[in-house]
């Protein structure tokens, strides 16, 4: 396990570079993101452990980051002052671009992995915005009317974008639909609602009270499946083809809110989570044994299995990401304890 201390700054998000197998970035904030500066760390894995390549300090907290998919040295950062900043590792001190349209804190940024000239952002101001790195203004605004903690492009289609909000809904937008009163919204799934059939006694997955959704991620192999999690501590997977069916699977175990989810880039059933309970957990949604998504839907939500647990953090864990390169299983996690750990999930599995 490798370790780096983001001295004086509490980690908020971590991402591996899609271009270099040894480079990662951490978005962090002083004073737990409540007040004060932010700092974007660019780090390299070397024979001598994790070494800082560069850092950029900002006026306000940084809550998320996304590596550019078209330029290996560029990283986006989501700022508490409502701005999105593009930094270049070869330039010093200041961002090379700055976009300021959100009226409140930006909580997530995500680069489109298919149409690589676009990225999106989501904010406390109740909007998701779509941007081009070459344009000074946003291309499109998608209203959610609710604090939007996470927005993401679908990795399988350039025009599908999803988000989760504090009103406990997943929204899926399809930009190919005509601009109309629905603002490209094609699917809206209540995360808290249970399956339509009466729940089997003793089985989780029935209707629950709405709770703020904090994170979600698209499965990298099953184009219609995404996972959500948030304040109610449950991780759920949904198939966007069947929004009324309720969750495909549920994964229960975290003792506090789940802050970040990431599907494995190598295995279609494996998921990593980071929680305020100071642990990272590895899960299987058991789609590998249940015989495919359609079977899972018919039988009601499957209860996923916890495969492993990492408990080195001593404060809220706020970010996790999988390494895309090399042998499957390497990942990075950051938290409010100012620690970045790079570790192999296989070492946590019994």
């Amino acid at each position: 396990m490798l370790h780096y201390r983001t001295q004086g700054y509490n980690g908020c998000a971590v991402k591996y570079s899609p271009f270099f197998d040894n480079r990662l970035a951490v978005a962090s904030s002083s004073n737990f993101g409540l007040v004060g500066n932010g700092r974007l760390h660019i780090l390299e894995l070397t024979a001598n452990g994790i070494q800082p390549l560069k850092w950029f300090t900002t006026q306000d907290s940084l809550y998320d980051l996304a590596w550019s998919e078209i330029h290996e040295n560029q990283v986006l950062a989501a700022s508490g002052d409502g701005s999105i900043k593009l930094f270049d590792c070869t330039a010093n001190d200041f961002p090379i671009s700055n976009w300021k349209e959100h009226a409140r804190e930006v909580f997530s940024v995500s680069w489109n992995p298919v149409a690589k000239d676009r990225f999106c952002s989501s904010s406390w101001d109740g909007t998701v915005r779509i941007w081009s790195p070459h344009r000074p203004q946003s291309l499109l605004t998608l209203p959610t009317h609710s604090c939007t903690y996470s927005a993401s492009f679908c990795p399988h289609s350039p025009d599908i974008i999803s988000c989760v909000t504090s009103d406990s809904y997943v929204r899926v937008f399809d930009l190919r639909t005509p601009a109309s009163a629905s603002n490209h919204l094609v699917t809206q799934i209540p995360i808290h609602a249970g399956p339509p059939a009466p729940a089997i006694p003793g089985q989780p997955g029935g209707p629950a009270p709405p709770a703020e959704a904090l994170t979600h991620d698209w499965n990298k192999y099953r184009p219609t499946v995404l996972a959500t999690a948030g304040v109610d501590r449950a991780i759920r997977t949904f198939d966007i083809r069947a929004p009324q069916q309720g969750p495909l699977s549920t994964m229960l175990g975290h003792e506090y809110a789940v802050r970040k989810l990431a599907w494995s880039p190598h295995l279609s059933n494996v998921l990593l989570s980071a929680s305020y309970d100071m642990t990272c957990r590895v899960w299987s949604d058991r789609s590998d044994v249940a015989g495919g998504d359609m079977d899972m839907m018919r039988a009601g939500p499957v209860v996923g299995a916890e495969l492993g647990r990492m408990g080195r953090h001593t404060e809220f864990v706020t970010g996790v990401d999988w390494c895309l390169f090399g042998s499957e299983g390497w990942c990075a996690s950051v938290g409010w304890d100012e620690n970045l750990y790079v570790w192999d999930v296989r070492a946590t599995m019994s």
């Binding site: 409540l34 508490g80 009270p209 948030g230 506090y256």
Partner: protein, 418 residues
């Protein structure tokens, strides 16, 4: 951008999400709050102290009191919504009364009428305007003179209505709908009288203990002696409908008001009284109130309405109350006081039983059976009563609700911030 405190609250809520009750108790800058509220005394129509006072004068008296007592610059009041059911030309009266009460020409006025819920509808209208950013400060009023504007019932309506199986029910008088409720849900005359006597006894206790003085502002008006025709100036200061010493037995002797409709369980003693009165609330956002240094009395959380068959309109609260509770994820145990308008004992008994309410939480100061139901005023009057009682009991959350003629129920949630 958000303050550090707001950022901290947002993380704290992720960590330990508050209960639904904690959520409505939370104080946010964009809450719609009440900074001043009061009501006039409620007096018997055609007999009480307000019998010769028109709605115009009632409104002028109350709005003048609001202007003087609220310590709010009248230039800041942008709109006044008056809940009123019976007064012809009420839109003329509302705007004129606002001006005559000393508000500048910039203060607009409008009328809200959804029968017995008009007062609450006025609150909702003003609150919605504030939420939408149309106005910053508004006054919601409910006012009715049943002495001067008698309730003539439904007008002549087209044949397509009178031949329609459901729409035609709207020509039924309210008394008939009360008997329909008693008949359909088997509510006995004894249950009616017990409910009504309970209302009188609670109101008697409240009046004798002086609790109602916290709600009431006096009305300076004139009264005409029916025998001599002499007109004299008076100040009306108290409710006059509360009959002391009322028991179920004494109410049992009152004869049926509607012998033509079975089961004829409704009487003049166990139905709401015909009454004059008014109530008013000053509303604005919390941030505006803090900016102006106005005292924050309570918070308006929201209101809703639901419809049902007109022939049993009385049971409207049994639909509207669960609806408003579900909108806020609240259960009935989260509520400290239910202020349900007692249009008739039949609907009162039904709603309390149907919703399984703790009787000690329902109308702790009595209701319209004891001190009257001035149609347009009631919705606003109930808010004044409920918030005053929350202050006395040191409790927080009240639901107000009422049945509405033509088959509806409305309900709202208020949080006291005493």
């Amino acid at each position: 951008m958000s303050s550090p405190q707001q950022r901290l609250n947002s993380v704290a809520n992720q960590l330990a999400p508050g209960s639904a009750r904690q959520k409505i108790l939370a104080k946010n800058p964009d809450d719609v709050v009440i900074t001043y509220l009061a009501r006039t005394p409620l007096t018997k129509a055609r007999k009480g102290g307000l019998k010769d006072t028109t709605v115009d004068d009632l409104l002028i008296s109350l709005l003048t009191t609001v202007r003087e007592k609220s310590n709010l610059d009248p230039n800041l009041v942008e709109d006044v919504c008056v809940g009123n059911v019976l007064c012809p030309g009420s839109a003329y009266v509302a705007r004129s009364a606002v001006l005559a009460a000393g508000y500048p020409v910039t203060a607009a006025a409008s009328i809200a009428n959804r029968f017995c819920s008009s007062g609450l509808l006025a609150v909702q209208n003003i609150a919605n305007q504030i939420i939408a950013g149309s106005i910053d400060v508004g006054v919601a009023v409910g006012a009715e003179s049943m002495s001067k504007n008698a309730d003539g019932g439904a007008p002549e309506m087209s044949e397509r209505i009178t031949k329609h199986p459901i729409a035609s029910q709207n020509s039924q008088p309210m008394g008939q709908t009360s008997e329909n409720v008693a008949n359909q849900f088997n509510i006995s005359r004894e249950q009616h009288d017990r409910f009504a006597a309970n209302s009188f006894q609670k109101a008697e206790r409240a009046q004798k203990a002086g609790w109602l003085e916290d709600e009431i502002v006096p009305v300076r008006t004139q009264i005409k002696d029916p025998k001599t025709g002499e007109v004299k100036d008076i100040v009306v200061v108290r409710d006059d409908g509360i009959r002391y010493g009322t028991t179920p037995e004494s109410l049992g002797k009152v004869r049926a008001a509607f012998p033509q409709w079975a089961p004829s369980a409704t009487t003049g003693g166990n139905a709401s009284q015909i009454t004059d009165g008014a109530a008013a609330l000053v509303l604005m956002k919390r941030s505006r109130a803090q900016q102006l240094g106005q005292p924050i009395v309570a918070k308006f959380c929201g209101a809703t309405v639901s419809g049902l068959e007109p022939r049993i309109m009385g049971i409207g609260p049994s639909l509207a109350i669960p609806k408003i509770l579900s909108k806020f994820n609240l259960s009935k145990d989260d509520i400290d006081i239910f202020e349900i308008n007692e249009a008739f004992s039949s609907m009162g008994v039904y709603c309390v039983n149907k919703l399984g309410l703790d009787e000690s939480k329902v109308n702790p100061r009595g209701g319209a059976i004891a001190f009257g139901h001035p149609l347009g005023a009631t919705g606003a009057r109930q808010v004044v009563t409920a918030l005053s009682e929350l202050r006395r009991q040191d409790k927080r959350v009240a639901v107000t609700s009422m049945c509405v003629g033509t088959g509806m129920g409305m309900a709202g949630i208020f949080v006291s911030e005493h």
